[in-house]
Symmetry: C2
Subunit: 555 residues, 2 copies
């Protein structure tokens, strides 16, 4: 099992993802005579986690999905950084969890009540249709005579004097870091026990492989994370004659094509499946009684969704979770997305309605600064494909980047299939889709991403009619372009050509890096507006005419 | 009352903020013989809002604070965009809210049970120590024979044919937009009723003004939002001889100075008051039984905190809410911060521990891309002061920007009081703090923000020793600098001087705009690390030596 890092409530959601993964894989691969997937998921959470909204989101889903093998220990110590939790937290956590549908057990003496804790775990295991919350009432800093039960043991060391006093009060005579023989002996039993369990599982799996060779091969590929040979041939490609379509629809074609060849692909949307176009048509819903299915219904819980996907991705290398909402609502799940990046978790974020082009829903729903904000985030790939080939390229990149999450920004509105776009181009991040210049010296370079690449193409046509040598560059992923060789970069954006115009229906923040001080970035630096897409584009000057005018200005 | 916009659960938290504001102002200004602040706060929320974590965070606080005049109608229609909510939402909302400490009422016939609804409101008003959730079970699209009780009435119009059928089923014979006489007459009564209520309140306030002139003047200033004359004189200033201090501590000096002169200033932290340094020392905690106090304890609920502050800011123009957490955890509350910007709500975001300089907590706690991500967001001021004078300047700007939220990025670590910094400088966003060149032609311009301005100053000293003409620019707010005249900008960053080096312990994303293609931006584009601050700065090359070397390279 890989490690996930979840601060401030995210750990609860990570655990729900781990338990979901177990339930899903068990349902798909276990046979009555051979249960090869079978484990509990334990999570320890504190008062602070309980206050965080994400923990409530994930806990609601855990009960809905009937994750009976999820056991949460709630360290009920009544202390957080600001002191006693009574200053901000007076709800009944027990009643809330019962309302959410959990089985709740209260261990009143969490400091020394080992038998009570063992009994609670046994009880939790016996409840198979619900997750269990074991509320364990403890004293923070137990044993420290002067600092126990206070915030001063939350984030700081005890200090030499108090360590001394604590040793005395706990009758602990040993030197620091000394492990007494009897303790060592007691714990060392886990080494042979663990080895025996591993041998037992290996034998079981060998039997499984003999009886169910196909299933075993598939499960093995999920466990190792090895992609099936030739999987990328499933990616659809498009000619310019193919019908115009929204990249959110093209994304669904990719997801459905990939689900056939990638056994670990599963995911869903935060109550926008029919807008995000994320349903896998050959599968049903992952639910309490149908956990073998691969469409996950997250409800309106973006933050929980992201962190649950982190848990799934960290459970087994071959599981490839995707999740979806409107691009602007990445704001609700940004903390989980950053943890994807930091944990090197391959989560695919399918983010549709990626600009003012979504139209009437207006500025609360129209992303502006979001592309820039993810381009600035470390170890995450921000991809904004322009058409079918680029959407396929974005999925290829997302699947191949095993240690990096990807964000796909996709359009609500229809876009034409453009000449010159390709999967290979996307893999380089930025590439030339058309050029009528020679010797790497165009008069002007027009750079577009996503839905605005079409506008750049039209502007180029117009400028070429007037005799200009124009290059059009698709800049689908800044991060991937940054990783190319200097020679390649120079072949796309020659430093001698300072006449550059970029167009993107989003913040221009950061574009100076690409267009330089002499270039011009066309974009939107204020909030959007509510109107049909065409009208908003005109209103905000995201037009072919604006690109032509800017190109003449800079060249 | 101003308008707040709260999608996806934020409206619940906005309402909690409105109800908090009422309870607080009522406690401070009402007299037993003259209650000038007295209103209920009503909020309507749907199934989707109930799934969102932020709604649970805010609802937990509403009960904790005993907001008895908050009445929430939960439109329990079982339909969200993806269809019947049973696919993702099977908890007992009633039990959860009872666990949170709310009074819960169930109106079973929300379609036509007007008397039941009226009775529920009366019951809710009678419960004075708890907020009330009125669960109103309804049929979405009630009256539409073919689309009622389905997701197809959530986000789309009925269409002409179904409108016709609905008219028939509801026996509504009138033309579109026609208001029948009896309906008009019934509703028109609110015009004289409202005028009478207003006159009544005006008379009450006139009496209050006579009896309690000082209180009345203060309340009036909160209602109008007019700042007391000379308030800005309360801002502390510092000389270079003043002791080094963390800007989070300097921030607390400002907050405490301002609380004395700004009666509408109130706020707090998400369980980090003693780290964010946000306690107002002359006030106690805003709690159920002490609502007149001004320190708000939000618990570990960043998202709820931000949206509650939006509600406070939108309640009354003179209320100035501030809220605090570590800068990296803006990721948890970013959606609320964007709504501050979109709603033009003056919320002051006090964000401490603003870089790798926080040290041992490591990369989960170290912001990298956050400065860039807010610089890209419309209508929000990102301020990163370097010392005491700049912190005071940041507060001056934050208070004066009535239609814009401000984010203050503040250091955990001590910083010296620098020569040349000033409140006036901060108001311009970027300004020269030292320069040994003449005729606006330095050999090199060093640009720093926040904790790295000190490094730029030291590098300048070093370069000047070698005979260089060096300008040091503090770039505390990009947005404010952008708003200056071209002449002013040219006087600070002359276009002829392309030798520029910036230093900031964060992502370099966007800095090309300031340093140009020939300049150099020193920063950190990957995740941080866990170690003492000094060691991390060295490790990541955020050093005086790096600035000196870069300056030599570019000049």
């Amino acid at each position: 099992m890989y490690s996930c890092i979840g601060p401030l409530g995210q750990g609860v959601a990570n655990a729900v993802g781990l338990a979901l993964a177990e339930k899903h894989l068990a349902a798909r691969y276990n046979k009555p005579d051979c249960e090869v997937v079978d484990h509990y998921t334990y999570v320890i959470l504190g008062d602070g986690c309980q206050m965080e909204g994400i923990a409530n989101e994930a806990s609601s889903l855990a009960a809905h999905w009937g994750l009976g093998k999820l056991i949460a220990f709630y360290d009920d110590n009544h202390i957080s950084i600001d002191g006693n939790t009574e200053i901000a937290f007076s709800e009944s956590v027990d009643a809330r969890f019962e309302g959410l549908g959990w089985h709740v057990i209260w261990v009143k003496n969490g400091n020394t009540g080992y038998e009570e804790i063992r009994a609670a775990i046994e009880e939790a295991k016996a409840v198979k249709d619900k997750p269990t919350l074991i509320k364990v009432t403890t004293t923070i800093g137990y044993g420290s005579p002067n600092k126990a039960n206070s915030y001063s043991v939350h984030g700081s060391a005890l200090g030499a004097k108090e360590v001394e006093a604590t040793r005395k009060s706990l009758s602990w005579p040993h030197e620091p870091f000394h492990v007494p023989e009897d303790v060592k002996k007691h714990w060392s039993r886990h080494v042979p026990d663990g080895a025996a369990l591993e041998a037992e599982w290996n034998a079981k799996f060998a039997e499984y492989e003999k009886k169910y060779p196909e299933k075993a091969a598939e499960l093995k590929s999920i466990i190792t994370g090895e992609l099936p040979a030739g999987w990328e041939k499933a990616l659809p490609t498009y000619t310019p004659e193919a019908p115009a379509d929204a990249t959110r629809n093209l994304s669904q074609q990719n997801l459905n094509a990939l689900a056939k060849v990638l056994p670990g692909l599963l995911g869903g949307s935060a109550d926008l499946a029919s807008s995000n176009m994320t349903l896998l048509k050959m599968f049903g819903d992952f639910q309490k009684s149908t956990p073998e299915e691969r469409n996950v219904r997250f409800g309106v819980r973006e933050h929980g969704m992201g962190a649950i996907c982190n848990g799934i991705a960290c459970h087994t290398p071959g599981l490839i979770p995707y999740c979806a909402t409107f691009f602007v609502f990445t704001d609700y799940m940004r903390a989980a997305m950053r943890i994807s990046a930091l944990s090197e978790a391959r989560v695919i974020y399918v983010m549709t309605h990626d600009s003012i082009g979504l139209g009437e829903d207006g500025p609360t729903h129209q992303p502006i600064e979001h592309l820039a904000s993810f381009r600035a985030m470390p170890n995450i790939l921000m991809l904004r494909p322009a058409d079918g080939n680029e959407t396929a390229g974005a999925y290829k990149v997302a699947v191949l980047n095993r240690k990096r999450p990807s964000v796909l920004a996709l359009s609500r509105q229809k876009l034409p299939q453009l000449a010159g776009t390709s999967i290979e181009g996307v893999e380089k991040g930025g590439y030339i889709i058309s050029d009528n210049s020679s010797s790497n010296k165009p008069d002007v370079i027009l750079i577009g991403t996503g839905s605005e690449l079409e506008i750049a193409v039209k502007a180029a046509d117009e400028l070429r009619k007037e005799g200009k040598a124009v290059r059009v560059v698709s800049f689908v992923s800044w991060e991937l372009f940054d990783e190319q060789s200097n020679d390649y970069k120079e072949s796309v954006l020659p430093s001698a050509v300072t006449a550059r115009v970029s167009i993107e229906a989003g913040s221009t923040f950061g574009w100076e890096k690409i267009v330089g001080v002499k270039g011009k970035a066309i974009g939107i630096d204020g909030f959007g507006a509510s109107a049909p897409a065409g009208k908003i584009y005109k209103e905000f000057g995201i037009t072919m005419e604006a690109v032509v005018a800017a190109a003449k200005e800079v060249s």
